[in-house]
């Protein structure tokens, strides 16, 4: 149990990391037995069917897809730009509260907040999914190797993973995100965290460890199954067994944790940008929009912080709900 507890992302008190794993604790009553008498369907049909029955997760998924589609389509439909030239006509509409023509109001310069929030949302989603994909890739490789080969490879990789988990996440993120000329040990240059690509890299550096631990645990137990023995007896190589036999069977937990990683990455990016270490103006991010509007707190212009924050909150919430729905849908023991 002690190991188990340490496994969760115990760092970052303000919850850059904790949390998400807490929602995945096993519930004793989740255990059920599949009853017979149903027609045989493929695994993914089952998963889809169970996910569609999870009403909250379904609504969350529709909401997120709607959000993403809207963020992509809106700039082509609307005449309000993200950074329009500051003209007199624009300034005439400065500091207008929410209305039909400007659903999120306008800022001190008259720029439409709705267009800006949508652009920032698009960035959040790209960074969230990008960082989660990269973290998952690294985590799966590290965890797969450690779990399959065991021995000194496992010891080395997992000690390193544990070591990274000890560090205070947000502090390390701040230190590497504020480097204006990042490079990989002086060998080649990396994009700075003020760009979307650089931000994805920074978040992935500290994002892969939980995935590595999860995949390792799963592979450790799967590798003892008979079908792995059979594959080995048939002469399959280590990498082939990992790729073709072990990982496909661990895909459930991988997907669930990758989803949670998306939410975490979105939150981390917004926090870094809010603190001044990430995306910089004139590029908008949900985080730096709130920083810019921080001095409106306590005035009637405070709506400038409500909407970016609300959208950020809803994004993370929906992603986490989807993760929860996927957990139920992918768990073969679930009877739904």
């Amino acid at each position: 149990m002690s190991r188990d507890l340490r496994m969760r992302e115990a760092q970052s008190a303000e919850g850059l990391a904790p949390g998400s794993a807490a929602l995945l604790l096993p519930e004793p009553s989740d255990v059920g037995v599949e009853t017979g008498g149903r027609p045989i369907r493929s695994q993914w049909r089952f998963v889809l069917r169970r996910f569609l029955r999870h009403r909250v997760a379904l609504i969350a998924a529709l909401f997120l897809i709607g959000f993403a589609v809207f963020a992509v389509v809106w700039p082509h439909v609307s005449s309000n730009g993200v950074n329009p030239p500051i003209t007199r006509a624009l300034s005439a509409h400065a500091r207008e509260g929410p209305s039909w023509s400007h659903p999120f109001g306008t800022d001190q310069l008259g720029r439409d907040q709705f267009a800006r929030v949508l652009d920032a949302t698009k960035k959040s989603l790209v960074i969230g999914f990008g960082a989660a994909a990269l973290s998952t890739l690294v985590g799966v490789i590290v965890g797969g190797l450690a779990g399959y080969y065991r021995g000194w490879i496992d010891a080395l990789l997992m000690r390193f993973t544990d070591l990274l988990l000890v560090l205070p996440t947000l502090a390390v993120l701040l230190i590497i995100a504020t480097n204006p000329n990042p490079s990989f040990f002086g060998l080649f240059d990396l994009p700075p965290a003020t760009e979307v690509g650089g931000m994805i890299l920074v978040l992935a550096v500290l994002g892969w460890m939980p995935m590595a631990r999860i995949v390792r645990g799963e592979v450790l137990s799967l590798r003892e199954r008979e079908y792995v023995d059979a594959a080995r007896a048939a002469g399959a190589s280590g990498p082939r067994i990992i790729l073709r036999h072990l990982l496909p069977n661990a895909i459930g937990v991988i997907i669930v944790f990758a989803t949670l990683e998306v939410g975490l990455a979105i939150l981390e990016e917004a926090t870094l940008s809010f603190l001044g270490a990430g995306i910089q103006l004139p590029d908008v991010s949900l985080g730096n929009m709130i920083t810019t509007a921080e001095d409106t707190v306590g005035t009637h212009l405070a709506y400038l912080i409500y909407f970016p924050g609300l959208v950020l909150f809803l994004l993370v919430l929906t992603v986490n709900f989807i993760g929860d729905g996927l957990r139920d849908a992918l768990d073969p023991k679930s009877i739904r």
Binding site: L5, E14, A22, L25, R159, P168, I175, L275, V297, V316
Partner: protein, 322 residues
Amino acid sequence: MVKFVARRVIASVVVLVLASMLVFVIVREFGADPARIRCQNSRAQHQCLESERKRLGLDKSLPAQYVDFMGDFFQGKWGTSQRTDRSVAASIKDDLGETAQLALWGIVFSGAIALAIGVYSASKPYSAGDYLFTGLAFAGIAMPTFWFGLLCIQFLSHGLQDVFGTDQPIFYSIPNPVGSGIENYFREFALPVLVLSVQLIASWSRYQRSAMLEALGSDYIRTARAKGLPRRTVIWKHGLRNSLSALLTVIALDAGALFGGLIITERIFSRPGMGTELLSAVLNGDTAVLLPWMLVVGAIIVGFNLVADLLYGVLDPRVRVA
């Protein structure tokens, strides 16, 4: 027991040494280059870089730099901040006191609320109340701390002040502007503690709930109920005692991270402390602060992890053998 403690202490020291190396590599290789920051406005970029690197000892190999730095660190030569010319050791000492206060109140408050929610949810699983708290936990975990902090200032500081029409806000949004005394202390700490607690309560209450559910499902609970003990006694005595070690361990694990993790709360409420120290250091290119800061926070985290391990061993004798 002595063997158990000794083993854990030695393991912690090893982790600390390895962590210091990792931190060193991260700060030196992936953090901003101090020489480049100093040469930002220099016209002779190349010469400036070279001489600064030499002066700061950055031209040596990484292991040599590490040995140099650790030597100075253990002799108490932590350097001075390039921005304020203050000794880094002195600033960190002051900051630790500030952050410790906030962290302590946060732990006490969050721990108490999380315990109550967890016990309630587990004793009435799948009731309306349980679903409500589950929903709130989801919301708490998805809540951006910095946004929640600004909302608190908007509504609980400015908003309440407008409602009651007082001269001073009821809850301060900055460190105590007027007077001392216990009342002002409360008005100063109420909002920061609330803000830093949201995520802690959300995650701790889920741990308490699942630990409590596990405890309530075991045979000794059924025995206790069967021999006629009232439900209340069984929950609060048998159930709680057997589930508490999990929560205490989680709290001890998170407590260390709080010392380096209050960056957002301190920033929102303009408070001095470890978080503010690090944030102003990274934003102003004050690289001298980073390494000592990371080592101190790393030591605190490893220390609390050790406490968590030992605590678990004391509370659950089965762990000691393993």
